[in-house]
């Protein structure tokens, strides 16, 4: 084992892992994080903390990770390339490791035009694949970026993750794209929310054909739907989301007050289906502002209790 990550340990022991997500608040109140953390503690193996998701300013991901850590949760620190250059990123990686963070998720980040500061200048000094290589270099080679490749005194032992969207276009290079991330040093992947299980299975097949599942743990992303409206919105307005019409019809087919329940059923069924797909090593349940439902979903999917 390279790190003290809980999910690295569980994956190495051959467990099917479960992760979830926690979005920091639009303010400085740590209680918001503590409340969300309490709903997830013991329910999942690690919790992602998003980094100014959809480009809306929120409490920093690293700060919220530390608050979760204090509760005894193993946080997965999400980092986007949108807001920091290679100087800030290397510095934050060292800082995160010093604060006891064990997992990092390397992302490009949503474009600033979607957020509350669309007039901001984006950075994109490096991209997500290159970010993976930066962490790996610091951790495994103990070297900083730069001509001199100076030595890192105290290597940051972070378990290195990234995201992949099996439903983004062009579909034909999506497995290849994962291959680049793996080559750069990625050790686990959390996918975009899966609604089209068939297409996901097709992507997984290509991933396995390339042998990528052996080099990197694939955690299948599941986003429970709260309503038919949410499903339609995701289909229409979230680029790169694949929500089949029959799923929307299924939600529409039940009374509005029961749609949330139906959404949870769909999430549970999705987890059970993806669990059977060769190469899938875990699930990532993203209950957006619905953290209280994660325990129910994980239990119904037969994934409770979590291994020690």
């Amino acid at each position: 084992m390279k790190t003290k990550s809980n999910i690295e340990r569980l994956l190495e022991a051959g467990n099917f892992v479960v992760t979830s997500e926690c979005g920091p608040p639009r303010g400085s109140d740590p209680e918001v994080i503590r409340k969300k953390g309490a709903l997830l503690k013991g329910v999942v193996d690690a919790v992602n903390v998003t980094d100014n998701q959809t480009s809306i300013v929120r409490m920093s991901s690293l700060s919220a990770c530390v608050i979760l850590k204090e509760l005894g949760i193993d946080p997965i620190w999400q980092v986007v390339c949108r807001d920091r250059n290679r100087i800030a990123i290397q510095s934050d990686i060292l800082g995160a490791a010093a604060l006891g963070i064990n997992n990092m998720l390397c992302l490009s980040g949503d474009h600033q035009s979607f957020g509350d500061n669309p007039k901001a200048k984006n950075v994109y000094d490096i991209d997500s694949t290159q970010l993976i290589s930066v962490v790996k270099k610091l951790r495994d080679e103990g070297k900083f970026l730069g001509e001199k490749e100076e030595e890192v005194k105290g290597r940051p032992n972070l378990f290195i993750g990234a995201a992949e969207n099996p439903f983004g276009d062009p579909f034909e290079i999506r497995a290849m794209r994962l291959g680049k991330k793996v080559k750069a040093g990625c050790e686990f992947i959390q996918t975009q929310g899966i609604y089209n299980v068939e297409k996901f299975a097709q992507w997984m097949k290509e991933v396995c054909d390339r042998g990528l599942d052996k080099q990197c743990a694939i955690l299948a992303g599941v986003i429970p739907l709260k309503s038919a409206g949410m499903a339609s919105y995701m289909k229409k307005s979230v680029p790169g989301m694949d929500v089949p019409d029959e799923l929307i019809a299924r939600l529409k087919g039940v009374p509005k007050e029961q749609q949330g329940e139906e959404g949870i059923k769909i999430a549970v069924e999705t987890i059970q289906k993806v669990k059977e797909i060769p190469g899938v090593r875990g699930v990532h349940v993203m209950a957006i502002e619905w953290e209280e439902k994660v325990a129910e979903i994980v239990k119904a999917a037969g994934l409770s209790p979590r291994p020690e």
């Binding site: 390339c81 949108r82 290679r86 490009s108 980040g109 949503d110 474009h111 035009s113 984006n122 994109y124 000094d125 490096i126 991209d127 997500s128 694949t129 290159q130 290589s133 930066v134 970026l145 995201a163 992949e164 969207n165 983004g168 276009d169 062009p170 034909e172 290079i173 290849m176 794209r177 291959g179 680049k180 080559k183 750069a184 975009q192 680029p239 790169g240």
Partner: protein, 224 residues
């Protein structure tokens, strides 16, 4: 070519508010081709300014003049004999031309009438599109001739983000996803394996990030 847009009449009126006598200076290079600051646009803006100021009872005297280029001193010097007769110069060149005119006449007021936008091409009459950001380290040989720096909203080097859908960029439905274009191009050329190579972290010091850039060709310099 360098593409620019003329500022709005309201904005230009605000810039020239303190002045009664101005020199309106066009350029016959790129900014003429993109129909923003050539001789014709100088004429149009002069008329608009005069009409607007007359309406406000604040008449303005405007000399219209268009240089071959505002990025070469031998042309800029043509205004030397009469520039001091005017309270301000309103330049309709690109940002480079406006800067250089101001550099050549540091005591004179030089005001911009153009917002310079990008290095681009003419897609059709009246439509221009960005193609290059002048980053100083071209990788078009790796990407099938489609620049990810200029044409991807996030300047990603190793493939499309998760928001690429049906060939369209998530940021704007009228913008092609640069990485879709790159993949299509590489496929058509039978070079999709190029995509699997990781493009390493870029040296941005050759770009604007390294400060104002200079190019020196010693063999062309005239040394006395």
């Amino acid at each position: 070519m360098i593409v620019g847009n003329r500022k709005s009449l309201e904005e230009i009126l605000e810039l020239v508010k303190p002045y009664k006598k101005i020199l309106l200076l066009g350029c016959r290079e790129c900014i003429t081709v993109c129909a923003a600051g050539g001789e014709r646009e100088v004429g149009v803006l002069a008329s608009e300014l005069k009409i607007a100021r007359k309406k406000d009872g604040e008449e303005i005297e405007i000399k219209e003049f268009t240089l071959e280029r505002q990025c070469d001193v031998e042309y800029i010097e043509q205004i030397k004999p009469f520039i001091d007769e005017y309270e301000a110069v309103v330049s309709m060149a690109c940002g480079a031309g406006i800067n250089y005119t101001a550099d050549c006449f540091p005591k004179n007021i030089v005001l911009p009438a153009i917002n310079t936008t990008f290095l681009g091409v003419t897609l059709e009459q009246g439509v221009w599109s960005e193609r290059c950001q002048g980053c100083g380290e071209c990788i078009l040989h790796l990407t099938g001739g489609v620049c990810p720096v200029a044409r991807c909203a996030k300047s990603l080097f190793n493939g499309p983000c998760g928001g690429s859908a049906k060939g369209v960029c998530e940021v704007d439905k009228d913008t092609d996803c640069a990485w879709q274009l790159i993949v299509d191009r590489l496929k058509a050329q039978g070079k999709l394996e190029n995509y699997e190579k990781i493009i390493e972290i870029k040296d941005w010091s050759t770009s604007r990030d390294g400060g104002p850039r200079r190019r020196i060709r010693e063999d062309l310099r005239i040394t006395s």
